[in-house]
């Protein structure tokens, strides 16, 4: 809407300056400084010496042992794998729980649909810490699950199911934290789905399962991928769930990073792991963008 006689480009620059400044200084700036710290030498008591040193990155794979010998250290690889496995599992479980729900919601009349989708969003806007904390009450020793088990005589008073402080507890926490993020994008692509396509598929002799597999899933793929990324990425860097529900024993990438900036006081290593996590996320986002653009092409040809 360009209106003649107005200094357009000056206004654009003026209008975007606060954004550039704030994000540039306080978002990109910190990331750059972190990248810098990741290649410096750690101070045992915290902080860094301003000396170039790649040990932060090297440490992810190789570390000196107590005898100062360089050796392959599988520990962080295990943490990375654990983060991966947990994040992938959480994503798949969220998809399995979320997809039918998203589908069901999308087929409701408008007023019901709006309320249901609002109910899905509420937990997302409430405090993550508090929501995770709720699971301690449910999973913990003598918590809701154990007390209802013993109420029905399935569990002796003194026994425990040992649900807390396990990978299982972390997984539940992760799924619970990010489930709404799976449902919302799937819902919006399901909403755009033309039900006549389902009728056509049915008309052409597809069973319900085949309709789901051959029509619904391919057509809502962008939503499914979008939702999966929204769940996968924060799971990878999760801190609260492993900290509260994992008992600090099962580190994930997120809690590993936090650990380096608290008790362990190894800034360069923590920064290096953070850079590693960041690059993983960038890779995931780039792959997503690729898939999306392909899918857009597909839509155009239809």
């Amino acid at each position: 809407m360009n209106i003649q006689g107005e200094n357009k480009s000056r206004n654009i620059v003026l209008g975007l300056t606060p954004l550039w400044l704030v994000i540039g200084i306080f978002m990109i700036g910190p990331l750059l400084i972190m990248a810098g710290v990741s290649v410096m030498e750690p101070n045992v008591y915290g902080g860094v010496y301003f000396k170039f040193d790649l040990s932060g990155y090297r440490q992810i794979l190789f570390d000196t042992n107590l005898f100062d010998e360089m050796e392959f250290n599988p520990a962080y690889v295990i943490i990375i794998l654990r983060s991966f496995v947990l994040a992938v599992s959480a994503t798949i479980i969220s998809l399995i729980i979320g997809f039918p729900a998203a589908y069901f919601i999308s087929r409701q009349p408008d007023n019901v649909k709006n309320i249901l989708i609002f109910l899905v969003t509420i937990p997302f806007w409430t405090n993550l810490l508090v929501r995770t904390f709720a699971w301690i009450i449910i999973l913990g020793k003598g918590g809701v699950i154990e007390s209802s088990f013993s109420f029905f005589g399935l569990l002796n008073e003194d026994d425990s199911l040992n649900l807390m402080y396990t990978n299982f507890a972390i997984l539940i926490g992760l799924v619970y934290s990010y489930l709404p993020l799976m449902v919302l994008p799937i819902f919006s692509s399901l909403e755009k789905l033309d039900v006549r396509l389902l009728e056509a598929a049915s008309d052409l002799y597809s069973s319900r399962m085949e309709i789901i597999r051959r029509v619904i899933i391919p057509l809502t793929l962008p939503g499914i991928i979008g939702g999966s990324i929204l769940v996968f990425v924060p799971c990878l860097g999760a801190f609260i769930a492993p900290d509260l529900l994992g008992g600090g024993k099962k580190l994930l990438l997120g809690s590993l990073i936090q650990f380096q900036f608290s008790t362990a006081r190894n800034w360069p290593f923590g920064a290096a792991v953070a850079m590693f996590l960041l690059s993983l996320v960038v890779i995931v986002l780039v792959i997503n963008a690729r898939i999306n653009s392909k899918h857009e092409d597909l839509q155009k040809h239809v």
């Binding site: 360009n2 209106i3 357009k8 206004n11 654009i12 209008g15 975007l16 954004l19 550039w20 704030v22 994000i23 306080f26 978002m27 990109i28 910190p30 990331l31 972190m34 710290v37 902080g47 729980i97 039918p100 729900a101 069901f104 249901l116 109910l119 969003t121 509420i122 937990p123 806007w125 409430t126 405090n127 993550l128 810490l129 508090v130 929501r131 904390f133 709720a134 009450i137 449910i138 913990g140 020793k141 619970y176 489930l179 709404p180 039900v195 598929a201 319900r208 309709i211 990878l236 860097g237 801190f239 997120g254 990073i257 936090q258 900036f261 800034w267 953070a274 996590l277 960041l278 986002l285």
Partner: protein, 266 residues
């Protein structure tokens, strides 16, 4: 004498309704349990001994919690308007600026805080302030909050702007408004619900934020979530449930307000 209706539309899948009920149960039962247990009169969270408001009463005499809540409020009340202001101006330029160089870059920049994992933002901000020696107490936290609230404020404002007929502004110009009065009498009033909902989201996000605040906050800047975290670490007491329930209630009220606002404007 009705025939039992066995017809099922092709778009109805058996079992999905039950599954959805389970889904909502999964979402809400933990919250429900949390709130219920906050009324537990026992001093130990997991053992129910009776109904009581004592933990809520206790909250009101806990100076540290009140101070933390006050901090949270001060931070949100400062960071959210700043984020909203930046988001509003940026949205106006990005949506209404036509095709200009750097448009893609700017809209990417605005969503950056959403893309970067929170823990990375948290430690990066920590290192940033530590390295540059910037120690302004609450202001450090406010700056960090402003940054990551921007995209949340931006989303509804951008949506409102995109939904607005650009001809309205032209109509105003046509009817003898100069640029400023067209903005003042048309764009701004029409954008207000969007700005308000952007502000509310930013506010909620700021009040709820934990990880970044945990890393950035120093003495006297503890916010409610950080305080709750230290309480949880100390042990699961009904007092934690009570303060958590209040925080939940606060967010839910705000988000519901946002929802109604959005519904009204659309």
């Amino acid at each position: 004498m009705f025939r039992k209706n066995k017809f099922r539309h092709v778009w109805d899948f058996p079992g999905f309704s039950g599954w959805t009920a389970i889904f909502f149960g999964f979402l809400y039962v933990p919250i429900f349990v949390l709130v219920c247990y906050s009324f537990n009169s026992s001093s130990y969270a997991m053992i129910w001994t009776g109904f009581s408001f004592r933990w809520y009463e206790k909250l009101f005499f806990n100076d540290d919690i009140l101070q933390a809540a006050y901090n949270s409020l001060i931070i949100a009340i400062t960071a959210a308007p700043m984020a909203t202001a930046i988001a509003t101006i940026s949205a106006l330029v990005i949506v209404r600026g036509g095709g200009f160089r750097g448009k893609e870059f700017s809209s990417g920049l605005i969503t950056l805080p959403l893309m970067v994992p929170e823990i990375v933002t948290a430690v990066a901000t920590l290192i940033f302030f530590a390295t540059l020696g910037i120690n302004l107490g609450l202001i450090n936290v406010i700056i960090a909050h402003t940054v990551f609230c921007i995209p949340f404020a931006y989303m509804p404002i951008k949506a409102a702007l995109e939904a607005m007929d650009p001809n309205l502004e032209l109509a105003a110009r046509d009817l003898y408004s100069d640029k400023n009065s067209a903005f003042r009498y048309i764009t701004l009033p029409l954008l207000t619900p969007g700005i308000l909902s952007g502000f509310m989201l930013a506010f909620v996000i700021s009040v709820d934020d934990f990880i970044i605040t945990l890393m950035v906050a120093g003495g006297g800047s503890t916010t409610l979530p950080v305080y709750i975290y230290s309480m949880v670490k100390m042990g699961v007491t009904p007092e934690v449930n009570a303060v958590s329930s209040l925080l939940l209630a606060f967010s839910i009220i705000f988000v519901t307000g946002y929802w109604f606002l959005n519904k009204k404007s659309s």
